[in-house]
């Protein structure tokens, strides 16, 4: 077990101790102090449109049920019957009529948790069994909140409310929804679930690491460029090749990006601008609904990866949420969920499916080289070849903005330093409002 002082000593302004990636004891503490405290994305309201609809999810090490109860609101319950501890529902989603019924001894519960009944009640007469006692309910997680359909939950009673927690990253959820002419999105198109044999923080750190793109992804960049030259030189580069070749932009391209880092470890980085027919059709449908000026404003906010630390990475332009679930110190599950912009041209949704197939499928030509490097980071940091991991790049030059910082150069390691500010605060201080950008 580590003291708070020892944990604090692992994070310096410009470097971090390798133990944070490889020590199972630290992972255990993270589950308690980070995933036991922050708001974690559990699912989207469109997955549970009717009362009684549910879908299973996970917060840290806790299997939970996201359910729409009789009050019409989303609720989040631990997936555990208070009788013998059996999981009430299997993994996945479904619908129950009016109540949950444990498949072991038929104890039943209202959709928001309170106990309804147990068979042969006479057997409990004279005992401490009491359906009105919350000890005999499906336990609810401490806090649940929905922001524009995105449901988050926290295992801790204390701390910032959801909107304050999201801070600057809230703009990405707004922008994702605002891209719909009716301001709403829905989960659609199926999901990918992929393993990374590496610590969860390595993926978060990679999301805004612009210096890796051309190096790690050289094989897919060169393959896409060469195939373009061989089969269609002189024509417009098709979308599927463009999103692979894009990693090969020169350093000067990445240096100009305005990378934002917000309180609680969140952040986002900008993407390129799209001028393809699908983007034009999208603009026209949005402008018809909200006016041209507002449509230009919404679509002009062209973000690439957003980070919501502890939850994952929404992508506004290609309408997805990469949900990052730590499973063990060296094993991470990533679930890629795609959204449909309600009211937008179908081609916009089909483009999101194509993007997911190309970039996020376990068969992607792009991600395997990332995942390989994450694994090598994991393996290398088990060695006694040095104790510190560098995050020196542009350290000391970050500019303050309301609720966070912006990098002076798009290749800055500000996002990584910012994540460790939140990490250190959560791991050593706890309580309300921790994890603000220092």
């Amino acid at each position: 077990m580590y003291t708070n002082e020892q944990l604090a000593d692992m994070v310096k302004p410009d470097k971090v101790h390798r133990a944070v990636y490889v020590d199972p004891g630290i992972f255990d503490l993270e589950m308690e102090r980070i995933y036991g405290r922050v708001w974690v994305y559990v699912g989207h309201e469109s997955q549970i449109p009717q009362t009684g609809d549910y879908v299973t999810s996970r917060i840290g090490r806790q299997d939970v049920i996201l359910v729409r109860a009789a009050d019409g609101k989303p609720h989040v319950l631990y997936n555990r019957c208070p009788h013998k501890g059996a999981q009430i529902v299997p993994p996945g989603g479904g619908h129950v009529e009016r109540h949950f019924r444990c498949p072991y001894h038929a104890w039943t519960f209202r959709l928001h948790g309170p106990m309804l009944s147990a068979p042969l009640r006479a057997g409990y007469e004279g005992t401490a069994f009491d359906p009105a006692d919350e000890a005999f309910w499906l336990r609810r997680v401490a806090r649940v909140a929905s922001y524009r359909g995105f449901v988050f939950a926290s295992l801790s009673e204390g701390g910032d409310d959801l909107v304050d927690f999201l801070g600057g990253a809230k703009a990405a959820i707004d922008n994702l929804c605002d891209r719909s002419p009716v301001g709403e999105v829905e989960v659609a198109g199926g999901v990918f679930r992929v393993w990374q044999n590496s610590n969860w923080k390595i993926f978060y750190e990679n999301l805004h690491d612009t210096m890796h793109a051309a190096v790690t992804h050289e094989s897919s960049v060169v393959a896409a460029r060469d195939e373009y030259e061989a089969s269609m030189a002189g024509q417009d580069m098709p979308f599927v090749l463009h999103i692979m070749a894009g990693n090969g932009e020169p350093y000067q391209f990445w240096e100009k990006l305005a990378v934002h880092a917000f309180d609680h470890g969140h952040g986002f980085d900008p993407g390129g601008t799209d001028r393809d027919p699908t983007s034009r059709a999208h603009y026209e449908s949005l402008a018809a609904a909200v006016g041209e000026a507002r449509a230009r404003e919404i679509l002009g906010m062209n973000l690439h990866n957003t980070i919501i630390y502890g939850s994952g990475s929404p992508h506004t332009v290609f309408q997805q949420f990469r949900v990052i679930r730590p499973v063990a110190v060296d094993r991470t599950m990533v679930e890629i969920v795609t959204f449909r912009l309600k009211g937008a041209p179908e081609a916009v949704f089909e483009r999101a499916v194509t993007y997911a197939n190309t970039i996020n499928s376990p068969s992607s030509n792009v991600m395997p080289d990332d995942v390989e490097l994450y694994t090598r980071v994991q393996k290398g940091n088990r060695l006694d070849g040095g104790d510190w991991v560098s995050m020196h790049r542009y350290c000391g030059t970050d500019r303050d903005i309301p609720g966070g910082k912006v990098a002076v150069n798009g290749t800055s390691e500000l996002p990584i330093r910012n994540q460790f500010v939140a990490w250190k605060a959560l791991m050593t201080e706890g309580g309300a409002g921790c994890g603000r950008a220092a």
Partner: protein
């Protein structure tokens, strides 16, 4: 033999034999990581599709593990050959066994063939097992009498909805 004459039976057996020889050739090329030769088995409009869901009907509005036309198949083959393909160092090796071959639609024009397959994959000391069914839509090869070209190769994995590690090579 009810209602099937000897001539028809001979024809069906000859077709099944030709189909099997083609599927075995394809498996040999894949087992040898001979991607460029494998690419040439497809028609110019041929598709390679590995659905993400059982019974998936649509690849435009549902994600797929693979959904690749000639362009994307070529990109994958090029990446697998690139000397900076970090995730292929060491490379993936596999062996595919095909059985239960049946011609489910003998044509005319295109024929549809369903088979079962099992695949053992090996990379970096990690073995993985895949299995499922292949459904090939084939055309007679205009350039090689008696052989075929692939209009559609659909691979239905028994564990299509698993949490997968990287799937890097054609199945």
């Amino acid at each position: 033999m009810n209602g099937i004459g000897a001539a028809e039976m001979d024809e069906a057996i000859r077709l099944k034999h030709r189909v099997e020889q083609f599927l075995f050739l394809e498996a040999r090329l894949l087992d040898a990581n001979a991607w460029d030769e494998w690419l040439r088995l497809f028609t110019p409009t041929g598709m390679y599709w590995v659905p993400r869901e059982r019974g998936q009907q649509d690849a435009r509005t549902q994600v797929s593990l693979f959904h690749e036309d000639a362009l994307l198949r070529n990109v994958r083959a090029r990446r697998l050959a690139n000397h900076r393909n970090w995730s292929q160092q060491p490379p993936t090796h596999g062996t595919r066994t095909i059985g239960n071959v049946s011609v489910t639609d003998p044509g005319p024009g295109t024929i549809v063939v369903r088979s079962s397959f099992q695949m053992l994959e090996w990379r970096a000391d990690n073995p993985r097992a895949f299995g499922g069914s292949y459904t090939h839509t084939l055309r007679e090869d205009p350039a090689a009498a008696g052989s075929f070209r692939i209009e559609l190769k659909r691979v239905d994995l028994v564990n299509c909805d698993a949490i997968h590690e990287n799937l890097q090579v054609f199945l």
